[in-house]
Amino acid sequence: MTEELLRTAGVRAGYVPSVDVLRDLDFAVDAGQSVGVLAPNGGGKTTLFRTLLGELTPRAGDVTLDAPVAAVPQGDHARLDFPVTALDVTLMGAYARTPWYRRIAKADRERAEAALERVGMADRRDARYGTLSGGQRRRVLIARALLQDARILLLDEPFAGVDRTSEERILHVLDELVAEGRALLIATHDVEQARRWDRVLCLNGRQVAFGPPADTLTAPILRETYGAELVVVGDGDGEEAICAPHHDCGGH
C-alpha cells in the first residue's frame, strides 16, 4: 500500500491579482517517489516550490501535504562572507523547533554532525561555508534540510554548477532518501537526468504533463514545455536528440 505525501488539485497561483504564474496543477507524490520537475525559465518552478512551502497561498484549488516540507535552495543568494561554518549552516535546520530561550539541543547537534557525515562533509564541518566549493555547499544545504525532519524535499537544481564528486555523492544520498520513504521534487534542466526519477512533472505556466519518464519525456511534450527555448540537436527525430536550455548536453 502506497502512502501519499503530497497532492495538488486544480491549483492556481500567482503574485499579482488576476495573473496566474502557474495553473492546472494536478498531481500526487507518494512516499519513496522521486519527481523531476522540468520547466523553462519563468515556467513556474519557483512558484510551485513557494506554494508547496506555504510561502504563497494558492488562489484556487487545494494543496494537501501529509508531511513537513523542506527546501534545498540553489544557495546563490547566500552571503559567502558570513562568519558561519558548514556545521552552523546545517544547524539552521533546527532553528524553527528550538525555542528562543533555549540553546540548540545536544541531540540536534549530533544529528547535524550525522547529516554532514551522510553527505560526505563531516571532515569539513568547521570550514567556513564561503570557502567551500559549489558542490560542497549544496551538500551542506542538503544536510540542513535533513535536519529539518522533512519527508518532502524540494531541491532546486541540485546539480547545477556542481563538481563530479559532489554530483555522485548527491545522487547517492538522494537515492537513499527515496529508499527510506521520502518524497523528492527535483527541479532540473537536464532532460537526460530526468529519466532516472520515478515521475516527471513538466511545467510551462501550467502543468503540461505528469507521469513516468517514458510517457512524459517525449518530443511533443518537451516541445510544449520548453517552446522556443528547446534546442534540437542531431537528426532531431527522437528524444535522444532533444536538449533543454542551460543543460550540458554531454556531447549529444
Partner: protein, 261 residues
Amino acid sequence: MPEFLTRALIEVLLLSVAGGLLGTWIVLRRLAFFTHAAGSATFPGLVVASPWGIPAQVAALGAGLLYAGGLERLVRKRNVAPDAATALLLVLALAGGTILASDAYPAGAGVDRLLFGTLLGLTDGDLAMSAAVAVAALAGTAALGRTWLATGFDPQAAPALHIRTGRGDALLLAGLALTVVAALPAVGALLVGTLLVVPAATARLLTDRLRTLQLLAVTLAAAEGVGGLLLAYQYDLPPGPAIALLGGAAYALAAVAATKR
C-alpha cells in the same frame, strides 16, 4: 577624577555593550550607512527639542522614525535605490537641522554639542537609557541571534526554514534606533557610527567566528570609548571625534594585521 568624567565613562561603557553587539549585526547585515544616516537624521529633532520643551530623546526618536518612514516610502513606493534614498534623507536632515539651528542657536553655540557629543551634562536619564539598551541588546542577541544570523546569511531561503524573518528584522531595527538615540548625548548625531559601526567593522577584520566577533566588538567599543573620553578630557575635545579617531586608528592597525594574517 571629576564626577562628570566618571559619569561619561560609565555612559560609554554601557553604550559599548549595545554598540558592540548590535554593531556586529549592523556590519554583517550591511546596515552601516543606514545607521550613520539614522544618527544624522535625529539632528533636526535635537535642535528643536529644547526650544519646543520636549525631551531630547523623544524628539530624536521622532525625527529618526520620520527618516525610517521616508526611506521605506522612497524605496518601496518610488523605487529609489536604498543607498541613494538614504543619502538623500541624510542630506535633507543635516540641512534642515542646520537651518533650524540658525534660529534656535543664534550664535551657533550648542550645535557642535548635538553633532559631536559632550562630556558635560550627562544626566541620570541618559545613563538609565544606555543601561536599558545594554540589557535590551543582550536579551535581543540571546533571543533573536539565530533569526538574525539565518536571515542575514540567506534572506531568500530563511522563510523556508520556518523562521519569522519579518519580526526579527523589525526588532533589530527598533533596537538599532533606540541605541542610536541612547548614544546621541555622548558621541553626537553625526558620530553614532563611532560606537555602532567602527568597533564591529574592526573586529570583523580579525575573526571569522560570530561569538568572538561579538566579544571583540564590545571590548573594542569599550576600549576606544574610554580612551577617547580620556583624550577628550585631556585636550578639551568633543568626545565623539576623539573616540572616532581612536577607532579609525584601531581599524587601520587591524587592517594591517589582517593582511599579514
